[in-house]
């Protein structure tokens, strides 16, 4: 009798705790990643996320650019995503249910403006009357218009067209465009076919226009599975550490993931800035929960710019952008 009761109790406890654990565990996690060179490819390739989340079905979805990612987020198709600062400013202003939790990468010369070397273009002023391409709504579209404004060149004096990165490469090979500001891996194809770099995104960062990609999580997911947000960050941090410690192996991974020759992958890696997770909480990046960092300033500057472009209805107060940046998860991961 006693034995039976005990057995029942044990089974009941086990069932209960299993139920409790099952409740906290998502059955599936979908990670949207951008088609560019950064440590997310390492995390994906080494299966670091799967190691952090055993028993969870992990799905990776590739997005060509920020516009596609934004649509995926708005459509609730991903749990985690990555966004450049212009799409982030759009998402934050439009009150998309997301939070920025991690610096994915800082953009240096992995993003550049390339011009036809036989067209004698030595400055932005020479672009008058030319056809210039950029994926609209992305970091490079933002930088292109900022750079033109700083040099006092009227954007209406040239033909600026909206093309996806892969279409830019195709249009370049056909000779349809004279200049383009976009990113690797397609950038390289253009440079090798009669292109030369005029300005890089890294140079624009030094002029006060940093561009970056930030990891975001859907609010609903973060509320339901906060510990899995930490697991995600932990996996991505491991990827970043691997990138910083093993550049050669990383280059091999990038080369394989993006089907590139090894020297190209190595060069593209160097053009991307990776920020180790324990530095992400400094003033320059996310900052801390108590005092948010300069990412907020970049977001406000970007949003302000987009409002002037009539792509956004109004500029939100600083507090809204501060609320979007959430260093709390990464603070927990690195134990601060």
């Amino acid at each position: 009798m006693m034995k039976r009761l005990l057995a029942t109790l044990v089974i009941a406890t086990m069932a209960l705790s299993a139920a409790a654990r099952a409740e906290e565990k998502p059955t599936k996690v979908t990670v949207g990643y951008l088609n560019l060179v950064n440590a997310q490819l390492v995390t994906k390739h080494l299966g670091l996320l799967a190691k952090e989340m055993p028993g969870v079905d992990i799905k990776y979805v590739k997005a060509g650019g920020g516009g596609d990612m934004l649509r995926a987020i708005a459509g609730n198709d991903v749990d985690f995503g990555g966004l450049g600062n212009p799409p982030t400013a759009i998402g934050a202003t439009r009150a998309l249910p997301i939070k920025g939790i991690l610096v994915i990468n800082m953009l240096d010369y992995v993003e550049s403006m390339v011009v036809r070397s036989d067209k004698n273009i030595t400055s932005l002023k020479d672009l008058k009357g030319k056809t210039v391409a950029a994926p609209f709504g992305s970091t490079t579209h933002y930088l292109l218009l900022q750079a033109l404004k700083d040099e006092g060149v009227d954007p209406a004096s040239m033909k600026i067209i909206d093309l996806a990165p892969s279409d830019i490469a195709a249009a370049w090979l056909r000779g349809d465009i004279d200049a383009a500001w976009f990113w690797e891996p397609n950038l390289d194809k253009v440079v090798k076919n009669g292109g030369k770099i005029l300005v890089t995104s890294g140079e624009m960062a030094k002029r006060g226009y940093p561009t970056w990609d930030i990891g975001v999580v859907m609010n609903a997911f973060a509320e339901k599975y906060p510990s899995y947000v930490e697991k995600f960050i932990k996996a991505e941090c491991e990827g970043i550490d691997f990138w910083l410690k093993n550049p050669e192996k990383t280059a091999e991974i990038i080369a394989e993931e993006l089907s590139l020759p090894l020297p190209d992958a190595t060069r593209m890696m160097k053009g991307t800035g990776m920020v180790p997770c324990n530095q992400q909480l400094t003033e320059e990046y996310l900052g801390t929960s108590a005092k948010k960092g300069r990412f907020v300033d970049t977001l406000i500057a970007t949003a302000d710019f987009l409002v002037k472009q009539e792509r956004l209805p109004k500029l939100l107060p600083r507090a809204d952008f501060e609320a979007f940046i959430q260093p709390a998860y990464i603070e927990k991961v690195i134990g601060r």
Binding site: A171, R174, D176, L312
Partner: protein
């Protein structure tokens, strides 16, 4: 009032249980117009209520007044450098040019394939193969071949419109009563006579119906055609606004597209009546 006296007895007799004979005298056309108005009104009301109460996220479904404001703003100030009439003009130019091309090539091709078995056997594989291809898949290739300018956009719209016209023309021509053909031949008609006085007049109504469907199909491919490297056009405006999550502009653009589609279709019907009063 006697219902029997009304010339509209048949359509309204079903309605006898409804109130008053006054209503029964409403002619059939305005009755269906009334019903259609009810549908639109209910839809608009539902839209207004859902957005006002907050059941729908404004990010995906803007309020009717916001959409109206977007319409007014685009009419007067424009969206990204072009006003709504300019966007519409760019799109209509593309559609109508491509559609005219599709008719100029599709109708003669269809007649040829309808009259001659050999021509049909020769050309059918081509048309049957590309007809079911999704436009976007075709488009990437067109962009590689023809570039990012107008020619690739026009080609895509042309290719979308062509098969409908060809196939309906073939059907129209093959369904012409052979008695007409033989009668004309026995009266000494030449091939040219047969074409212009027998085949085309008899097949005309079906060809025009095919043209209408084909115009509709061309229209549906518009947004896809304007995704790549356009800087004006209703389709481009919708695509661009979607990137920036401007749902008011997106919805406004779709409504304008819808109305324009209806107007185009009415115009096609008008042309059909003018050209083929016997149909």
């Amino acid at each position: 009032m006697s219902v029997e006296a009304s010339p509209m007895e048949i359509p309204i007799s079903v309605d006898r249980t409804q109130r008053g004979s006054l209503r029964l005298n409403i002619p059939k056309v305005s009755r269906s117009l009334l019903l259609s108005t009810v549908t639109v009104a209910v839809l608009l009301a539902a839209w207004a209520i859902v957005t006002e109460v907050g059941w729908a996220n404004e990010l995906f479904l803007a309020k009717p007044q916001t959409v109206w404001a977007a319409f007014v703003k685009t009419m007067t100030k424009g969206y990204q450098g072009a006003t709504l009439p300019q966007h519409l003009g760019a799109s209509l130019y593309r559609i109508l040019t491509a559609f005219a091309l599709a008719c100029f090539i599709g109708i003669p091709l269809g007649v040829l394939m309808g009259v001659s078995r050999n021509a049909r056997a020769l050309l059918n594989p081509l048309i049957e193969f590309y007809r079911p291809l999704p436009p976007l898949g075709l488009y990437t290739l067109l962009v590689m071949w023809l570039g990012i300018g107008e020619s690739s956009k026009l080609s895509l719209l042309f290719l979308a419109g062509l098969p409908g016209i060809v196939i309906s023309t073939i059907q129209a021509v093959t369904s012409v009563d052979p008695v007409y053909v033989r009668a004309a031949q026995s009266l000494g008609a030449t091939r040219r006579h047969l074409l212009f006085h027998v085949y085309l007049p008899a097949a005309g109504p079906l060809i025009l119906a095919g043209m209408r469907i084909s115009l509709g199909f061309t229209y549906t491919v518009l947004v896809a055609a304007e995704i790549v490297a356009a800087s004006a056009g209703i389709g481009w405006m919708i695509w661009d606004a979607a990137k920036f999550l401007l749902s008011d502009v997106v919805i406004m653009g779709l409504i304008v597209l819808g109305f324009t589609g209806v107007v185009l279709d009415l115009m096609m019907r008008g042309i059909a009546k003018l050209l083929m009063p016997w149909a």
